[in-house]
Symmetry: C5
């Protein structure tokens, strides 16, 4: 599995370089993505979809502009966007610095946010760096690779579904974040079925689930660490009043917080249950060993004395009492049966089989 | 056991659809329940019970109206209720979205709440989605399936028991929440007897309780996660002053909080005690293995040297000293007894039996 | 041991009934206790002890009245007390509802409190439900059974010890709570000697302490859950200014808080130490098993090869080299000694004995 | 080791007595210490050391008075001190009640504090009860036994080292607390070397460290519980402005808080590391057992089949094929070598030796 | 590995001495470092690098002065710096007291900070004590040994990279702290590769990683304790407005906090994962033992009965049935095969091989 490691911060060298030079350097791996900019302009009456090459005004007040930029490696373009919207240098750095975790910063004149998207594609967890800039009636989203996360939003704008066309840019901003967080529900579904699979195996005393369990725990830890800053960011939004955001957005953001809390609680509950699973697995191993030990002990305790008895009558002493009696052999067999039965009774009382 | 999984969020597809379209879609499984609406109108002097088909005014000021709606899949009806009371779209979505956890939202003009009920029916844990809308002297409760949770409230209205008839709609609202939380006491009783059963087994060194213990831990984790948002919601109600709620309701809500705290603390204490139980179980297994090992070792340590001795005198060497003496066999038996006694004494000193 | 289970809430049925009917129903088990009311009236100059049947005014301003009611099952009497002091219905319910945990409620016109007393009587932990009502210069205490907890307070009133006679009803209230919490010190002493007993056994590698340790852990969990709400209640008293309480009571309540914190910290420390004890016990078992294994292995590794050697010369092949030499037997014995010494040296190097 | 148990509260009987009677009763064990009072008076210009019998005014404003009282069992003397400085009765009780934990109380007219000192003397942990009263330019310290903790402060007053002579009584108060907390650094050093000793043993797979580790964990728990209230007290001092304390003392108290935080974090870190040590020890035991098991299995698996083979040819059947061939014995030896080599190869592949 | 122990506070003796005398005494080990002072003066237009011997004014207002002092053992020099900038005595003590943890103190007239740097040099973790004083347009940094941590900052001043030359001394101060914290990213990279190495070994069931895992856990605990006070200090800076710091520095410090949070979360996540690793390792050992046990039991259970059978026919009884039949031997062999097959079938059903 191509598991992303959110705890590893590999780009220190590039970052140091950046810090010294103050340049904007893309630290991700998708340097060969074809850069493209999609512009969606709409208001209550009309909507238009364009491909464009640059992000420049003038912006009319009665329309909402959404620029969706694919590809972050053209730092010159990023620089221009910065100039157009008067973005702080430190935010432009974060747009292209893919180790940066999710965050929302309210810079008086604009709202800046970074989201770490996590989604499943062919059973692999893909992690993507998404930046969003919100300034008055313009929203710019910047992604590393093309994806379908925003397709639902695009569709509801085009087909005039729901309220999106009749509300402001703050509702679009909310819809985009909502689309991003919806990806997490898929992740939870994946975790959930994975958990049930392992649980079934362990309840069946199948010992092969050991590594699977370890990887599930690791994944859960990753996800908790990835969702946590998103939750903190949205929580900040709902508490501090951000001045591009209309008061009537509050119920929507409260709903979003509810979802994030539910995701977080689920992840934590799964994590705790993996501990219980691990403990039951350890119990299973101990029980198995115990049973193996009992079988060994039963066999040994029955046959070791009998073998000794046979050994005694196999000795070459000239005189061994009863050696010449015809009944001796049958006496011996009888003794063996008595000893074995005694042992078995003893172990039966001990409830060993 | 038909265990509900509150951490699993299965309806992401439907939900996504809803988000895009903005439609109200019921995400639960009870789509074949007969929809029915019961209307209870009462004041200090009179009370009436009706079946009705729609929830519409006008509502007289000197009466309290309680609409109890069974079945959530008629989204048209839900939509009409929304219009009648001017309910926010996002709340109507939560009425029919059964993965939504418990919550209370104060929307200036009305109070909206979702409760996840958990109750035992024939040893199965049933989870039900209940929505409540409180606006001035009207309360609407919406349930997925018919149930007897509100029977006590209905009875006390009808028979004029307690204060319910002489108090306002806020007291009815409190009584309904109280009835919902009372179901949890039954759950705790079930958990408690289950715990005592497993505890007894483990104290008796019965190893079969392993899976039972695992399921109890899982259930406790579920319940803690289910009760927690209810507690948070009620706590919010007692702290923020909600303007349909009379000041004299405070003692009642404080009492409710006390109960919920007690339930929560009990669940957490049981959870912690299952850990102690698990550890004692592991101790039991280790002790058992230890005893098995000791028996094996005692048998082996006694008979293996004796067998060797018998083997020595069973060798076919032409010359083995003492082979022809008549007393040799008795000497041999004596040696065996001495060796065995020595071993047993050694193990007695080690306190092995 | 007759261990009370503070987490079990058995009376849901009675409670439900009560909730529906609004009646006051005693939910405890001491329904055959002889009901008695003791009235102590005192001021700086005089003191009088009476038996009485009812709690009624008028109450003179220059005296302090303490009614000590034994037995809670006479709900009519409880009702009358409620009327006399104008007690809220919900508080009267808590007076007789013995599953209710410790709490203090400030109802403007009076102060209401519930305490769960825990004390040792003949090695059994007794749990008792005590309610206290404080209104101006009158204090009513309500107990389930007669007991000696308040004897110290009674004595200091009678013999004019300390400041109690020269101070107000708030000091009496404090003295009663102080007497209740003092019982916990005895409990801690019991826990402490119990802990030392188990610790000694485990350090001596005595494996019988397993169940004792489990019960100690359970008891500690119980006590922590029982003391916690008392601590919260007293803490609320010290923070919120309750208007029957003189400013000069603050040092006394701070002292009480110190004691409760010390009790709580002790309980938590003991709980943590039981974990260390459990782990050492597990270590002991593992070590024992390790030693048993080593003895078995040493015996087997020495005698199994020797037995094989004896078996070889016991074979009935016509030709086995050296079989007819007189020195062969001594050669064989020598080989055995060499093999055994080699094995023992090997295990000595491995530091096994 | 004479380990003090801060969690044990033994004096409940005496305490109860005290509570009833309101008397001041010394609850410690040092009742035979010779009571002595040392008085140090100083200002910028002069300093004098006296032995005295009583603590009485008048106190001149331009001098600082430090009374150091050794021995707490003369409750009459304590009573007189209480009168001189107008100390609250409840504080006088704490002066002589040695189970009382560390605390600082700001009683408007004076500052009262209790400190539990812990120091090493000849490898034993000594616990001492120290009370301090600070009123304007007078400081009274009360100790159970004579000790050298304050020697540094005494010396710096005498030799005019540092700023102590040029600053007020608040600086003296700080210096005394600083001297008390400095003792903890020695304790940490002791813990640290003890930890390293055990760590070394466990890394060397020495199993004897089991009990040592248990005692270290217990000690750490003790220390954390002892330091915690001191930290809380000093923290309260730095936050609430106490009116005998000059604003310029803040940096000193902040420094003290830094030290206490460092001590606390160190203790907690050591406690956590003892858990890791315990786990490694358990790993060691398991590994050892595993190796023992492997040796046993290798020996058994090799020789048991060979012994069986020898047994077969030792049978007394009249006809056993090959019994009379001269080469049979060598064939048999060859078979044994082949079987043994096969087994060893099998275990080599399993990487068992 | 030369692992620094941040929990050990070795210098108590020296410290006590210092406390008594009030002298400034360097408590570190680098007493033979050549003391040197580098002075960098710059503004937008010009920059100059000097070696100097003393830190003295006058300081021109339109320039920024950065003194970088190497070597802390010249306490006279430290004293002079203290006089020049009017530094509090307690801060000068911390400059030379290398056990002091990271902290930032805002002393109205200047900002004082201590940082514990941790960096890798040839696989060793080096810990260094760095003090920083910021007063208006002058910044003094004091290091124990020469190092390259500040080289990036020096370079960006010299080559006029980024904004450093056009901004004030507060930006320089930020750049220096940023350079210090950047070292931690290297540490995380080291931890990360170390973790992956151990993980790989444990997933491969390699048991030698036991000690490596212990050391990793210890290191993680060290780092968490070292980073935590730095995080607290920076967090204090971002919350309290420090009056040498321009409002426009806030985004930079927020970015710094983000990095420190990311470092802290990574460390904690790694620590938690080491627990999972340890548990999997324990699982591995148990599984291995289980398999060894099974092999032993299979061998014993098959051959012990067969050996007994061979022993029976090896007895020297005059009459043993069938001893003289020619087919007996083949019957015996057949019986052996039947018994062995039966056993193997039994174990196959038990799924043991």
């Amino acid at each position: 599995m191509n598991l992303y490691d959110p705890f590893n911060i590999l780009h220190s060298k590039k970052q140091l370089l950046r810090q010294v030079s103050g340049d904007i350097i893309y630290t991700g791996q998708f340097t060969d993505v074809q850069i493209s900019i999609e512009l969606i302009t709409y208001n209550k009456k009309e909507v238009s979809f364009h491909k464009t090459n640059s992000i420049e005004g003038p912006f009319e007040n009665d329309k909402i502009y959404w620029f969706n930029v694919i590809g972050l490696h053209d730092t010159e373009l990023i620089g221009k966007i910065g100039e157009t919207f008067n973005i702080h240098h430190i935010d432009l750095e974060d747009v292209v610095h893919v180790s940066q975790w999710s965050k929302i910063e309210d810079r008086e004149s604009y709202l800046f946010s970074i989201f770490k998207m996590i989604y499943l594609r062919d059973k692999d967890m893909i992690h993507e760096h998404v930046a969003m800039i919100h300034k008055e009636n313009v929203i710019v989203t910047l992604q590393e690779v093309p994806g379908d996360t925003f397709d639902g939003v695009r569709e509801s704008i085009q087909k005039q579904l729901g309220k999106i066309r009749s509300m402001g840019s703050d509702y679009l901003y909310y819809s985009l974040i909502d689309a991003l967080t919806n990806e997490y529900f898929d992740i939870i579904n994946g975790i959930s079925s994975n958990f049930r699979d392992i649980e079934m195996k362990i309840l069946d005393n199948n010992l092969e689930s050991k590594e699977q369990l370890y990887h599930l725990r690791k994944e859960l830890l990753y996800l908790i660490n990835a969702v946590s800053p998103i939750k903190d960011s949205i929580s900040k939004l709902t508490k501090h009043n951000y001045h591009f955001m209309n008061h009537e957005m509050t119920p929507y953001y409260n709903g979003l917080m509810d979802h994030l809390n539910q995701i977080m609680d689920s992840l934590k509950a799964y994590k705790e249950m993996t501990n219980s699973l691990h403990e039951m697995q350890m119990s299973n191993v101990s029980n198995d060993m115990n049973k193996t030990m009992m079988i060994l002990t039963v066999f040994s305790a029955i046959f070791i004395p009998l073998s000794f008895l046979a050994g005694v009558f196999g000795m070459n002493f000239t005189y061994i009492p009863g050696l010449n009696l015809k009944s001796s052999f049958y006496m011996f067999i009888l003794s063996c049966v008595v000893i074995a039965s005694g042992m078995l009774t003893f172990f039966k009382i001990k409830k060993w089989y």
